[in-house]
């Protein structure tokens, strides 16, 4: 909306505005209050992001200035690396499990306990507990659960009298274990979003449907779910963005193993970029992650906006 060009006759007005702004404290206010945020944000968010885009084209160990320009070689290497494919595929699996299991579970539970009663409040609190815990703590607790030597799994094997099994050391099973932990950790968050939305559905609409003889499933399908569609879209967006960032949970559980089977994009970035001090390579991974995140955000907004207007 603001004027981007200044015709000559408006220049006078502009300098007037500047003078007035300076005298009534607007300019000083702007000059005192705005720069801290701009400086912090530029220095620690935007510059590193831009540098990712620069370093990604270098082979650089982080010491001295990046000099060894390699063009797209980091990207070629990344897309040719089988572990990177595993990491991407694992991220896709997390998204699928979130959309197909976690969100329906969260919606079902939300429908069961969205009404404000004391019992419901207790269940709501219980289901939300994993979400308020640190991811690392959650990962550590579950690594105890899955520990076939000294942990809960060992105890279960002893009790049932079966041979010990090691879920996290199994190439096939390890990532399922990770996904169990992710569902355990986050379904409460999605449930809370749905509960907040369900409490906003007008009671008279539900009552009207009841009077017309609608069954409970029909009310859910035709009144409640359509009403909370925006909340479902938001929770899907967070599930996808969250899946792109999974890191903390993996480190205590499997640290990416066994034989790199449980890496996600961020653990891959950490393992093959930072711990090996391949700053250029890790930055290239960061660039890919950035592009995917932006695509998701743009894509989401397109769909969401369309639905909003239709």
């Amino acid at each position: 909306m603001s004027d981007t060009t200044l015709p000559p006759d408006r220049r006078q007005a502009f300098s007037d505005r500047v003078r007035r702004a300076a005298t009534n404290g607007r300019l000083t206010a702007g000059l005192i209050l705005l720069p801290p945020a701009l400086i912090l944000f530029t220095l620690f968010v935007i510059l590193p992001l831009g540098e990712s885009g620069l370093y990604a084209f270098y082979d650089w160990n982080g010491y001295g200035a990046p000099q060894d320009f390699v063009g797209l070689r980091n990207f070629e290497q990344m897309f040719g690396h089988s572990v990177f494919s595993i990491a991407v595929w694992n991220t896709v699996k997390i998204i699928l499990i979130s959309l197909l299991i976690q969100m329906p579970l969260a919606l079902l539970l939300a429908l069961l306990i969205y009404r404000k009663t004391p019992t419901n409040a207790v269940f709501r609190l219980i289901f939300f507990v994993p979400y308020i815990m640190a991811e690392v703590a959650a990962g550590l607790i579950w690594s105890f659960v899955f520990d076939g030597n000294y942990g809960v799994t060992a105890s279960i094997a002893t009790t049932l009298g079966i041979e010990r099994f090691f879920v996290l050391a199994d190439r096939e099973l390890a990532f399922y274990a990770v996904m169990v932990v992710i569902v355990w950790k986050y379904f409460g968050f999605h449930m809370m979003i749905y509960i907040a939305a369900l409490q906003g559905v007008p009671d008279d609409q539900i009552e009207a449907a009841q009077i017309e003889g609608a069954s409970r499933p029909q009310i859910v399908r035709h009144v409640q779910v359509p009403h909370i569609k925006p909340a479902i879209a938001v929770s899907a967006f967070f599930a996808i963005i969250g899946a792109l960032q999974v890191f903390d949970v993996i480190i205590p559980l499997t640290n990416g193993g066994p034989s790199n089977q449980t890496h996600t994009i961020v653990t891959y970035l950490y393992e093959f970029g930072l711990t090996r001090l391949r700053i250029g390579y890790g930055s290239a991974v960061g660039v890919v992650l950035f592009i995917v995140a932006v695509l998701v955000a743009v894509f989401y907004q397109r769909i969401f906006m369309k639905k909003g207007t239709a």
Partner: protein, 276 residues
């Protein structure tokens, strides 16, 4: 009519109890594990301990390292909250109150942080912090956390500030009150709900953060509690009772904090989610 109704309720409660058990069982095993001998953990992980050994919890509570980790986290999280509230509200106030050339552009610029995950720029961030000479200091965590929290904070603050009555400012302005003074004397005191929401949100994020401290902190003197916990786990690989006692005790502040600030946390998380 009561027949199907009762059955439906039973089915509903059964499902809720099953899910609740799935949620609570690992936590129960963790809390109880801190009281058990390792042999007992291996054979009866879910049982109530035969005897409550308090030595493992005692060992953690009397370990100065445990308190140092918690203290470091407390310091870092509090500083991140204070800095985010001050810097974020100041900028948001300018956007809400003063229209100037390029203000929309700068506002959108500051919201870019909502677009991408923190991890994308972690390597250049590490290099930058190293070059500034902040590696292994509290600031290495505080400043980037504040910077990344600013986008959401400014978005929420500006929305809130814009809803405050305009007449108030006009009256104060006629009385000779300037923009900065008005911000400090009126806007901030009137905005405690949103300050609390954002503050709690930033605190929880900072308290639980793992990746950034992992990358920029090296010495145990400055470790935050998640790093300390992983360190502990590495030292006592086979002695789960020690680690479980540590995990349980480090979760206590989080649970207490959650119960105290539940209103703001739920508002911040779901509200922030909806707006983000």
């Amino acid at each position: 009519m009561t027949g199907p109704h009762v059955w439906r309720n039973v089915a509903r409660l059964t499902l809720l109890v099953i899910v609740a058990s799935f949620v609570l069982a690992p936590l129960w095993a963790t809390v109880m594990g801190g009281f058990k001998t390792n042999a007992e953990i291996r054979t009866a992980a879910f049982a109530v301990p035969e005897a409550f050994n308090i030595e493992f919890y005692g060992a953690i509570l009397s370990d100065p390292a445990f308190w140092r980790y918690l203290g470091n986290s407390m310091l870092i999280s509090s500083a991140a909250v204070i800095l985010t509230l001050i810097v974020g509200s100041a900028a948001a106030y300018v956007f809400a109150q003063i229209k100037f050339f390029g203000s929309n552009f700068l506002f959108s610029y500051l919201l870019l942080g909502l677009m991408f995950p923190f991890a994308t720029a972690i390597l250049p961030l590490f290099i930058k912090i190293r070059d500034i000479g902040l590696l292994d200091t509290y600031w290495a965590v505080i400043l980037p956390q504040t910077a990344f929290g600013l986008s959401l904070a400014i978005l929420l603050f500006r929305t809130f500030f814009a809803q405050l009555p305009k007449e108030l400012f006009e009256a104060a302005y006629i009385d000779g009150c300037g923009y900065v003074r008005f911000f400090i004397m009126f806007t901030l005191p009137l905005s405690t709900p949103i300050l609390a929401t954002v503050g709690v949100f930033v605190f929880v994020q900072s308290w639980n953060n793992f990746l950034l401290p992992l990358v920029v902190l090296n010495s145990r003197e400055v470790f935050t509690w998640p790093l300390g916990m992983m360190q502990y786990r590495g030292e006592y690989v086979t002695q789960w009772n020690q680690t479980l006692a540590f995990v349980t005790l480090s979760l206590v502040p989080a649970v207490v904090f959650f119960l105290a600030a539940q209103k703001y946390i739920v508002a911040g998380l779901t509200g922030g989610a909806v707006k983000g």
